[in-house]
Amino acid sequence: MPALLLAAAENADAPIYVAQNIAFGIIAAMMIFSAIRVVTTDNVVHAAVYLVMVLAGAAAQFILLGAEFIAITQVLVYIGAIVVLFLFGIMLTKAPMEGNEKLSRDNWALGGLTSLVLLGLLGYVLLDAFGEDKLPQDLQPTPTGAVSDSIFGTYLVPFEVVSLLLLAALIGAIVIARRD
């Protein structure tokens, strides 16, 4: 009985976020499954829909990490704009929708080997470097005001450069895709 109490006391000053960990596990499993389907499915439209699931899962992880503004931006920009752009691209290139066209190369096994080696390397390095590092116990949502203060204060010049980049990408996309 004392041992049990001791264990409870140890757990008391190191709270375990059961709900957050379960949510993380479910969302992470969904993201990994959907990501693998994105790169293996034979139907381009299905791949776009699976991509939506990965992006929505990433937004949920951002909320778990307390980054609400990034999560909202992720939903707005990625799911709202980029996936629609992908669907337009699929439609305009008359991609095969029946699912009988070969979308992957014949030597996909070499690519799988490459990415598995990369995964092993990354996993080893991450476990070695950040083994048991914990996120702060009192993880609070980041106020959006702090993010905007940082953008328009410290990172004002990069922000303007990004807006110029978007303008250049807009003009470049029109010039490249124009029919002449």
Binding site: A67, I70, T93, V147, L165
Partner: protein
């Protein structure tokens, strides 16, 4: 929550994206795989931001989202140009600069 669980999830997504870039023939599918890679980078940035309490990681994630939007716009324009010239988006057909 451990920091590593987010980093390992991002590593898995990154490797899946790399596999997609290598093994897909369709140009649109390659762009989708690149989106997977950029997303895993975003998860890393936000996780480190939560770890250190600094906002810079989130600002960089926003920049990555903006650059990804620009990249998809130009990338799909290039795929459309390829489709117009070759009547297909199979990247194996595009071997003009192959020695």
């Amino acid at each position: 929550m451990l920091l590593n669980q987010f980093l390992l999830l991002a590593a898995v997504l990154f490797c899946v994206g790399v596999y997609g870039v290598i093994s897909r023939r369709n140009g649109v599918m390659v762009l989708m795989s690149i989106e997977l890679i950029l997303n895993s980078v975003n998860i890393n940035l936000v996780a480190f931001s939560a770890m250190t309490g600094a906002v810079s990681g989130q600002v960089f994630a926003l920049f990555v989202i903006a650059v990804a939007a620009a990249e998809v716009g130009v990338g799909l324009a290039i795929v459309l140009a390829i489709f117009r010239n070759y009547r297909s988006v199979d990247l194996d057909d595009v071997d003009l600069m192959k020695g």
